[in-house]
Symmetry: C2
Subunit: 199 residues, 2 copies
């Protein structure tokens, strides 16, 4: 659906990068992953779907992993922002619930799971996923927790990183193993690990 059709694409703009082609590639990769799984995600299939020459892909991306990282970063910045200013117990819980829905319902969630998976098969992917996505996001999440703690909104018993792993881990694990990730689960984990509100 979101693949650009050839006629809707603006004419190329000379010797500058074609933004329409870039978006077409990103959307094609996303769509193919969701529709047919990572196994069917080949560079040639992306090129066909995007209506773009294979060489154009290799010109701008070293691998399909980097394409997926681009879509993941753009999409999760848009649709799963980390509450930054004066987070309350409720915004923290809300973020975690959103994260659970992101994992299971959002196409970008599938992209994240696929990249975590691919990281097991290829050390290069593991490094890039850490650098470009996991580490920066974790920094923001840690900051959120620290601010909420300082404001007395939450009172976690464990240090911030362990707390985050303890909540995020089960959500990701259930998503990876094909279980559902209901909001109740998030609330149960948050209740156990974030401590009483306004302790």
């Amino acid at each position: 659906m979101s693949a650009a059709s050839p006629q809707s694409r603006r004419p190329r703009s000379g010797n500058r990068r074609d933004e329409a082609a870039r978006l077409a590639v990103l959307h094609a990769a996303d769509d193919l992953l969701v529709e047919h799984g990572f196994g069917a995600l080949t560079v040639e299939a992306i090129a066909r779907r995007a209506g773009v020459a294979k060489q154009t892909i290799y010109r701008w991306w070293p691998s399909k992993v980097e394409i997926l990282l681009d879509t993941l970063i753009e999409d999760s910045a848009k649709r799963l922002p980390v509450p930054a200013l004066e987070p309350t117990a409720e915004t923290v819980r809300g973020y975690l619930r959103d994260f659970a829905r992101f994992l299971t319902d959002d196409p970008a969630g599938k992209v994240l799971l696929a990249l975590v998976a691919q990281a097991q098969h290829d050390p290069g992917t593991a490094d890039r996923l850490q650098e470009r996505y996991l580490r920066p996001r974790r920094d923001q999440e840690r900051d959120m927790l620290t601010r909420a703690s300082a404001a007395g909104e939450i009172t976690p018993a464990l240090d911030p990183d362990t707390t985050l792993d303890a909540v995020v881990g089960p959500l990701v694990y259930r998503a990876l193993t094909g279980s559902d990730v209901p909001p109740d689960l998030v609330d149960a984990l948050a209740g156990n690990l974030l401590g009483p509100r306004r302790g």
Copy 2:
């Protein structure tokens, strides 16, 4: 190391399956995965390493995933048994600590992570992993928790499956993202989720 050398292999035994060949394939797959990662794990490489013809592999296993499942099941039955009879709070905690070490230090732990990863890329793998490994093991673990609860050894606040996901999830998540999985983490999670001993 564990690949059978040709001269050490016993002569084939007529029209019966060659057990030495079976073990050579299992060990070759295991070794190649640990040494070079899933990416380098091809059926042809396994055949070369095991000193076995490719057809012999295809005769007995429909895919390399099934080979890995065989090794995972045999190895974790041997090296990570689930405490079954009258589990105490300490045996439950011990099992979870063993599981953490299994994930990071045991070759079979790498096999499990690789299969969880592959399950994201291929629905068939997801089904087989569930059927042959995750479900049976979860059944045993649930039983362990239920018995320990009934005996008053542990007092989890959540239902058994959620409790297991809440402990196992973070361990797996950290292993997947390349973090270490220290015993302290297990103890912290267990302290939070298994409840006070002999409450």
